[in-house]
């Protein structure tokens, strides 16, 4: 009767039979990419913890935990922090599974070239997630293989140092860049096009991410070397001529995109846009999230940046009150507008994971930091001219040009989850937030953000500390 009891799952695979065939390995890899859809951090929490946390936007909406992010009062029990931590580590598990299993596949259908690519894609994904974590929390547990035991000694992994995490990211990305193609081809060698090349990690994506990693560590020359590889990639990354096309929902997988989260609508839809878009588009009458700040709108206006303001922000009269824009119903308030389609919680709109415009500005920044302000200006003005802004001319000090470049990044990349990292990179987070004047109309007083060095990092989630006594909390 042991046969009677020896049942196998009908609707699930098991670790014994799930990774044997080439197609199963592809499926495990697809599952690893899916974290970009299922982890809320990559849907819209990256905007909350960058733009809302910084000077770009207010929380909007009605969620106390998003208010915490806005007002720099994130506590260790903030459930969004824990959710993001958990979902990103789940993405790391999926990547680790692919990295471990792909070498064991004996199916002749899986060529050595494809094996290498699969490994490269998974290494890239792992690096992407660790880069996210190290920026949010500092040093985190560095887990490089799937967990197979539940023994406390095996699962209670302490934090690695920030440097160790970055070292692993650099190693993974360097390996990935070597294993990955510039673009993917079918069996006849034909380019599969943007819908594949912007969905899968490529050598260009690995080098671009490497550039961002080096830049965040102020290793400017390494960053420049990586950027050079991106520029030389046969994928042919270029700035789109028209900034509007980046965010009009009509030019997905364009030439400026290096990697973007793929959404097709309906069951492969993005719920994020419905949270942000105004009543005229979403059909909702409830208060929306991520309201652009007075300070951001003022920055667009001061620069005369009509083009990018128009592509990024939409003003609309609303029935609710807003504590920063109008304390009476019927005020016109701004909405985050880089996504333009709500589509009933299942939008086709996408977040860029890496886009070339960011890399161009990063190059300007690195050139300036390495004393090459002339060439820096060339890069900067590529971005400015596209935005119909007059070119910045020479003669600025390094500091003044740095500020100019950071402002450019702010206006170019608003609502794309970059602002906080930019402030932290140049140690400007404390001063910027404490100097910020945002009037809460309910009290008539400026908000006291009370920013400190410690708040540059998010706390380690309390729920994780409860599960793993080997962890130490960040200074709060």
């Amino acid at each position: 009767c042991d046969n009677f009891l020896d049942l196998k799952p009908i609707s699930e695979e098991t670790s014994d039979n799930a990774y044997n065939k080439a197609s199963q390995m592809e499926s495990a890899l697809v599952g690893a990419y899916e974290t970009f859809q299922s982890a809320e951090y990559y849907v819209w929490d990256h905007v909350v913890f960058s733009d809302v946390r910084s000077d770009n936007a207010y929380a909007g909406g009605d969620n106390p935990e998003v208010f915490e992010a806005d007002l720099l009062r994130v506590t260790p029990i903030n459930s969004r922090v824990f959710k993001n931590w958990s979902q990103i580590y789940n993405g790391i598990l999926k990547a680790n599974t692919v990295i471990e299993k792909v070498d064991l596949v004996t199916d002749p259908q899986l060529s050595d070239t494809r094996k290498g690519q699969i490994k490269g894609e998974a290494l890239f994904l792992r690096a992407y997630h660790y880069f996210t974590l190290v920026k949010l929390h500092g040093g985190v547990p560095l887990i490089l293989a799937p967990t197979k035991s539940t023994d406390p000694n095996d699962v209670r992994v302490p934090r690695s140092s920030v440097a160790e995490v970055y070292q692993q990211i650099i190693t993974d990305l360097t390996d990935a860049a070597n294993l990955l193609p510039d673009y993917y081809t079918d069996e006849n060698g034909n380019d599969l096009g943007g819908s594949t090349n912007k969905a899968r990690a490529t050598a260009g994506a690995a080098n671009a991410l490497l550039a961002k990693v080096y830049a965040q560590n102020k290793d400017w020359s390494s960053a420049l070397a990586a950027i050079e590889k991106v520029e030389k990639s046969s994928a042919g990354y270029t700035l789109l001529a028209n900034y509007d096309h980046l965010f009009d929902g009509e030019h997905y997988n364009n030439e400026e995109s290096i990697l973007e989260v793929q959404y097709l609508g309906t069951d492969e839809g993005n719920f994020g846009p419905q949270l942000l878009l105004p009543p005229s588009i979403s059909g909702d009458t409830w208060r929306k999230f991520v309201t652009p700040s007075q300070d951001l709108i003022a920055a667009y206006d001061a620069e005369g940046d009509v083009k990018r303001k128009g592509a990024s922000v939409l003003f609309e009269e609303v029935s609710w009150v807003d504590e920063y824009w109008g304390n009476a119903a019927g005020t016109s308030i701004p909405f985050s507008y880089k996504w333009k389609k709500a589509m009933g919680w299942a939008s086709t709109d996408r977040p860029y994971l890496i886009r070339f415009g960011d890399i161009v500005l990063l190059k300007a920044e690195a050139l300036n930091e390495t004393g090459q302000s002339g060439t820096a200006l060339v890069e900067l003005n590529k971005i400015r001219s596209r935005a119909n802004l007059e070119a910045v001319s020479g003669g600025l000090s390094k500091e003044a040009l740095r500020a100019k470049i950071l402002l450019e990044r702010r206006l170019e990349l608003a609502q794309e989850g970059h602002r906080w990292d930019d402030l932290v990179r140049h140690n400007l987070a404390v001063s910027t937030m404490n100097d910020l004047v945002e009037i809460d109309l309910r009290t008539g007083q400026a908000v006291n953000y009370n920013m400190t060095e410690a708040k540059m990092l998010l706390p380690i989630p309390q729920q994780e500390l409860d599960r793993n006594p080997a962890l130490e909390q960040n200074p709060l």
């Binding site: 699930e12 592809e26 409830w286 599960r467």
Partner: protein, 961 residues
């Protein structure tokens, strides 16, 4: 030979004390299989072989008589009614036993208990009737099933509900049973009683036996009742002007002229519900056939708008004695069950109806001019009628439950029984949200969901029984095997984007949002053995063993062996007590046993790889997989080790009956879904970790207080249980999330399950109006850290009790049933939402006392928009939820026999019942008898806008023809 010559035909009649012939009396020659039964008029005829033969006359409810033949050819006998209830047969696992021989802890609820309280489900009828059994209905919804805990919660993640066995077929959901069909319920509480069910018996076993025919004359019985129900308490909330003041103070301004309504949302949401029930049964028996056929309908509309439940039931029970060695029988029931659920346990933001009724401001009406539902003036939280009326939500379950058995008397003393039981049920949920009236419906352009489950189950058991009585030795041996198999199939489809509301099925929508179907299986194989031995009716021993195999565990740990042993000593049979008239029965019982639990997910030991992590690449969606669980070949049976000692005492011809039991249950190798650090990528893994203990004492007292023209009987039962987590290998587990405030339940070694966890609220600072709390250093603080949280309440009652009094006089009977729980705390999380003042929700009147200006002395902090610091989970919201309630009061009148005879009825009874007429509690919420966590093992004692128990009045009749 002498024997042949002694062959003799005996005839006679068997009558009752009134001289009426009794049909169906069994007459058997002692120690043989030869026998017969009396005919319709009570006459019998039987051939004996020897003058030494002894005839046994037996009939249920009568005292068995032994009569030596002694050469007579006519033997007339009068059987006496069995007044001593000790000779009652008690249904136990795979058989019955005389109550006096029972050595385990078994409680019985008989049909008379059922009749005194009309109810739509059997679970409710056990509440308060059995010591050691905590029956909880986690809400008052008509569709709410019950959660039963026999001697406490035994597990953390594995199921803690007892096994229900209906006429030999295990089942999980008892909502589909009609109480009218039930003859008796046996609750097997300790390991020695439950061990025959081994793996499935860890949480106790509830054996439900349905009715059989009892008289030769076909009996037709009709049960009818109808009634009304409503919530017994409402909450006071802010009126329009007070709401406007609060909003203005919080900085929310609007054009208030648009909001001039005065809607009482509780009045809109609560309604007078009704219940109706009709059951018709025909039963009877002839020489060799016994039948019971019933059909009925129950309909119930809830006290909260749109909640309802309907059930149609049909049942056939049939037993046929084919010849003197073969008996066949079947039990078949078919039930069609429908309900409409309302969303509770949620904030208005998530569509919770109860919290919606409290936190929707009165200033808005129900509908906008365009027919859409109104929303809060400041945020698009729709009014609660959008939840009750905005969608159609129909659940239907069709269930076929039945068995077929054959009983063969092989040799003298041996009986073989084979039984095949099945439970096939299919349920279907239809949901439709039109594209117009609700905000979510408009965003999706309409949504239609159909989910279906098809579940099949069979059990095949074969048992051989040996019964032997030699001199003073009585031996009963049972051996057998059981196999069980479950198969689950479920599918779900969802479409969106509808052209109109004219089509409500998914085909009307253009976008497929979900389309999936899955299957799973589970199998169990078991071998059982039992020995009952009695010597001299004084010394009783029961030993059980069950060997269980389960597909849930890996090959190395698939099998578990679960033995038990119990003994009884009937001291009252000893010479030194036989002469003491006042003691009619005294028995000591002691038992020890181990039972197992495998109530966890299927294929639990395997490293499962899930599907559905799909992602578009190249413009099409590719299939994606993900690691779903960690393989664990070491996973094995959770074991509960139980020790029970008990005493049964009957005094004054059993006018006073006392049963007392004390027990310790220790569950080890707990099947715990232990949290893992999320850095592993997993949330948790099922492991055999830790231990849990329940210990307690329970008393049951039945008394006949007065037995003259007026008869007054009482039952009182009380149970004390203490639950403790013994070992969790140092882990702490947090659960029971409250929106925006973290988790409210801590599971930790040394504490009981249901420890409410949070901050200690110290008061409101008169200067700033902010709440201050106890900090870890013993000083008060406005900003406590998570480490400053501690246990601030215990959801477990110190004791639970039930008290029933029945007084009959002439044809009137009065039944009063009180039931209560003492010493349990509740986190009134509803108040976090209604007193928190963090957003634009309407609040309870309590906030009129909020801090407004420096110097105010109050215990309600100031309003704090967008900030939860003043409304953390704290002692401020923990309340004593002890209660005593008049659960049921029934007055009934039975028509005198001369009247019923004229009407050609055999009996007619009319009654009025009031349920929950009176409640004594300090709890301030809607009702103390609720739980957000439903039947969860760990989320206990939280009320978060939970549907309350209702008060009802029912009028009914039982008529028999």
């Amino acid at each position: 030979s002498a024997e042949v010559s002694a062959q003799n035909t005996i005839k006679g009649s068997v009558t009752d004390q009134d001289g009426e012939g009794i049909p169906g009396v069994t007459i058997q020659i002692k120690n043989t299989v030869t026998g017969t039964t009396t005919d319709f008029s009570g006459e019998y005829r039987l051939t004996t072989k020897s003058e030494e033969d002894i005839l046994l006359f037996s009939y249920i409810g009568m005292i068995t008589e032994e009569v030596p033949v002694g050469g007579r050819s006519v033997i007339n006998i009068t059987l006496k009614e069995d007044m001593i209830r000790l000779d009652e047969l008690v249904v136990i696992g795979y058989g019955t036993q005389n109550k006096k021989d029972v050595t385990g802890s078994v409680s019985v609820v008989g049909s008379e208990d059922m009749e005194s309280r009309p109810n739509t489900q059997v679970g409710s009828l056990i509440q308060g009737k059995v010591a050691g059994v905590q029956v909880q209905s986690s809400s008052g919804k008509p569709s709410q099933g019950i959660s039963m805990r026999i001697r406490g919660t035994n597990s953390i993640n594995a199921g803690s509900e007892p096994l229900y066995v209906v006429d030999g077929v295990p089942t999980a959901d008892t909502r589909s049973l009609s109480p009218s069909d039930i003859e008796s319920v046996s609750v097997l509480k300790d390991a020695s009683a439950a061990a025959i069910y081994g793996a499935q018996g860890a949480n106790g076993v509830v054996l439900i036996t349905t009715k059989k025919g009892t008289s030769t004359k076909p009996s037709v019985s009709l049960d009818v009742y109808g009634g009304v129900n409503e919530v017994w308490r409402t909450q006071e909330v802010l009126n329009g002007e007070q709401y406007r003041d609060l909003m203005t103070e919080m900085g929310y301004n609007t054009d208030w002229d648009q909001y001039q309504n005065n809607t009482d949302w509780q009045n809109e949401v609560f309604q007078t519900g009704y219940t109706q029930n009709y059951q018709l049964a025909i039963s009877g028996k002839s020489d060799n056939t016994n039948y019971y056929i019933s059909g009925g309908f129950t309909g119930s509309q809830g006290a909260v708008r749109s909640a309802e439940m309907n059930r149609a039931n049909f049942k056939v029970n049939l037993d046929q004695e084919v010849n003197d060695w073969l008996k066949l029988g079947t039990r078949v029931s078919y039930v069609d069950y429908n309900d409409v659920d309302v969303k509770d346990n949620q904030a208005v933001n998530q569509g919770g109806v109860l919290l919606g009724a409290l936190t929707t401001p009165p200033v808005i009406g129900i509908y906008n001019q365009d027919g859409t539902f109104t929303s809060n003036p400041f945020q698009d939280w729709e009014n609660p009628l959008a939840s009750t009326d905005g969608s159609t939500r129909g659940f239907n379950n069709k269930r076929f439950l039945g068995n077929l058995y054959a009983e063969v008397t092989i040799l003298k003393d041996f009986k073989f029984k084979t039984n095949l039981g099945i439970d096939n049920n299919a349920d279907k949920y239809n949901y439709f949200l039109d594209p117009y009236r609700t905000s979510y419906g408009r965003a999706l352009n309409g949504q239609s969901i159909v989910s279906q489950n098809n579940n099949t189950y069979y059990i095949f058991d074969n048992t051989l029984q040996y019964n032997k009585e030699v001199n003073n030795h009585k031996i009963q041996v049972l051996a057998g095997s059981v196999i069980q198999k479950y198969h689950w199939q479920s599918s779900n489809i969802e479409r969106r984007n509808f052209a109109s509301d004219a089509i409500s099925t998914p085909n009307g929508g253009s976008e497929i949002a979900a389309a999936t179907a899955t299957e799973a299986e589970k199998a169990n194989t078991s071998f059982i053995g039992r020995l009952n031995y009695a010597f001299n009716n004084k010394y009783l021993i029961t030993a059980n063993v069950r060997v269980d195999g389960s597909s849930v565990f890996g090959p190395q740990n698939r099998w578990g062996v679960f033995p038990s042993f119990s003994a009884g000593w009937r001291i009252s049979e000893e010479a030194f007590l036989k002469s003491v008239d006042v003691i009619s029965d005294l028995k000591l019982r002691a038992g020890y046993g181990i039972v197992g639990n495998d109530n966890i997910g299927t294929y639990a030991y395997m490293g499962k790889v899930g599907t559905g992590a799909n992602y578009p690449i190249g413009g099409i969606t590719l299939p994606g997989s993900y690691p779903a669980s960690i393989e664990n070949q070491k996973l094995k049976w959770e074991e509960s080790e139980q020790t029970n000692i008990g005493i049964d005492l009957g005094l004054m011809q059993d006018r006073i009956e006392l049963t007392a039991d004390a027990y310790i249950k220790r569950t080890s190798d707990l099947l715990l879904n232990a949290p893992l650090p999320r850095s592993t990528g997993y949330d948790n893994a099922i492991q055999n970790i830790g231990a849990l203990e329940n210990r307690g004492i329970e008393f049951n007292l039945n008394t006949v207080n007065y037995d003259k023209a007026i008869k007054w009987t009482s039952n009182f039962n009380i149970s004390f249980n203490k639950n403790e987590v013994i070992n969790l290998v140092g882990q702490e587990i947090y659960t029971g999330s409250i929106a925006g405030r973290g988790e409210a339940i801590q599971i930790k070694e040394g504490q009981s399950l249901g420890a409410i966890y949070g901050y200690e609220f110290l008061g409101v600072d008169p200067r700033t109006g902010n709440a201050y709390y106890m900090g870890g250093d013993g000083n008060s603080t406005f900003n406590p850290t998570p480490e400053d949280r501690k246990v601030i309440g215990n959801a477990n009652p110190d004791f639970i009790y039930g008290f029933t009094n029945t007084v009959s006089w002439k044809n009137f009977t009065l039944n009063i049933f009180f039931q209560g729980a003492q010493g349990n705390d509740m986190l009134n999380a509803t108040r976090i939402d209604t007193e928190g003042m963090t957003d634009a929700k309407n609040q309870s009147s309590a906030v009129l006392n909020r801090w407004k200006r420096p110097g105010d002395q109050t215990d309600i902090p100031k309003s704090s928009p967008g900030n939860t610091d003043n409304s953390r989970i704290s002692t401020r919201f923990v309340e004593d939820a002890s209660y005593l309630r008049l659960k049921a009061l029934t007055v009934s009148y039975t028509l005198p026999q001369n009247v019923t005879e004229k009407l050609s009825m055999s009996a007619a009874r009319f009654y009025v019942t009031g349920e929950n007429l009176w409640t004594l509690t300090n709890y301030t919420g809607f009702d103390p008898e609720v739980n957000q966590g439903g039947n969860s093992n760990t989320v206990l004692g939280i009320d978060y806008g939970t549907y309350p128990q209702t008060r009802s009045i029912i009028v009914g009749a039982n008529i028999t023809f």
